[in-house]
Symmetry: C2
Subunit: 214 residues, 2 copies
DNA sequence: ATGCTTGGATAGTGGCACTACCCAAAGGAA
DNA sequence: TTCCTTTGGGTAGTGCCACTATCCAAGCAT
């Protein structure tokens, strides 16, 4: 398969594919001579993954490169590899540790982990980007003056834990290590917009049930 | 409160506040004379809401303007107003109805709504942006060749329905109509990053439980 | 021979969220 | 009174990002 065919089958322009090659999001094809390269099904698959991450998951190109670097790193064990790939994802800026709301959110979030009994997550507090994102989100809500109760937060957390169990169960149905990591990344990148859409749709459904269409 | 104080108390630069004023994200202050305007607590509150939507929710400025237009529109009933505000949010492009994956995802999604008994949502199929986002996400997953089972999708949907119930219960604890709509918007914009963070943290927790840190 | 494709490279585009600078008028402080 | 700051208003520029367009010389297909 040459560049033109790769482009046609993926729906991505040749110019964009070249751009991805330059940016290291796609491995170069097998060079046949100076002016021809051969691509295979794996290239097509990777290209579709990249596109899905960028278009559906809104992941920046630089981040995609980081994530893929971890996905392809055979030297790492599964948990580390999975974690590394997922940790490369977050797009939220560093919380300002000077900010009083951030500090309060910090305390509240640690409390939450205790309540939930997420002892493993608690061990990651200082380093996990997910934890930092959570702190930023909670601080933003508090700054707006909402008295979102800790119980509500706990309820949300339990729901997302159930979602995580579903994710990992599904991941385990895949045989190879590479596939497992890829599924995990997809679970973080593609399932998220899906959950968001389901969330909004559920809000509309529930709202209509309670108040009708008026 | 003058511009400088509004800037200091919100942590937003005066230049950016001027930009928001120009873009219609913030109502002009009460003009005292040609060179002075007075802002109040409501301005501060609105500014913080705007910042939260943009920074935490990653909502584009133009979209924020649309959402606020609906939030402030007293002429609409609650459900419509809520729906209108939420419908202004989505950032996913129109699905390509020619695409076979999109059409298959369409069918699958309608099937899902039947299974769930979300009859109200089904009535919105042709117009709801949330529904379209869902179709796009499902199509992307299918295009990558994953045999994500309908049961898994249904499980996710039930979880998000529980989340929606929590959202609306919390919304109802607020007395005024304006507050209710604002809370609903926040529920869509700010709770989402929070859920995402909780989701990733839960993945890390569950992964560590199953496989340890290695 | 002709026309298309290749990798490689460089430069340009369009959108977005600011950000910097300038202005004349107004008000307060010295 | 003079100086300084602040105001709204406006214009132009910045930095990032994801492409996109154009050019090139070399090679292969017909």
């Amino acid at each position: 398969m040459r560049l033109a065919e790769l482009s046609e089958r993926s729906g991505v322009s040749t110019a964009t594919i070249k751009y991805y090659l330059r940016e290291g999001l796609l491995a170069p094809g097998r060079q046949i001579n100076t002016t021809t390269a051969e691509y295979d099904e794996e290239h097509l698959r990777r290209l579709r993954l990249v596109r899905a991450m960028i278009q559906v998951g809104r992941v920046p190109v630089a981040t995609v490169r980081e994530v893929l670097r971890h996905v392809d790193d055979d030297s790492l064990g599964r948990t580390i590899r999975l974690g590394a790939a997922l940790w490369a994802l977050p797009q939220i800026p560093e919380p300002d540790t000077e900010d009083e709301y951030v500090r309060a959110a910090h305390g509240e979030t640690e409390q939450l982990l205790d309540t939930l009994g997420w002892s493993n997550a608690k061990a990651l507090v200082t380093i996990s980007p997910a934890y930092r994102s959570l702190v930023v989100a909670v601080a933003a809500l508090r700054r707006l003056g909402y008295d979102w109760s800790p119980e509500l937060l706990t309820s949300y957390a339990r729901l997302m834990h159930q979602a995580a169990v579903l994710d990992l169960d599904f991941m385990e149905t895949h045989p190879t290590e590479a596939e497992k990591v890829e599924v995990a990344v997809l679970g973080a990148v593609l399932v998220q917009p899906m959950l968001q859409a389901l969330h909004r749709l559920a809000q509309e459904e529930e709202s209509a049930r309670r108040y009708g269409f008026e």
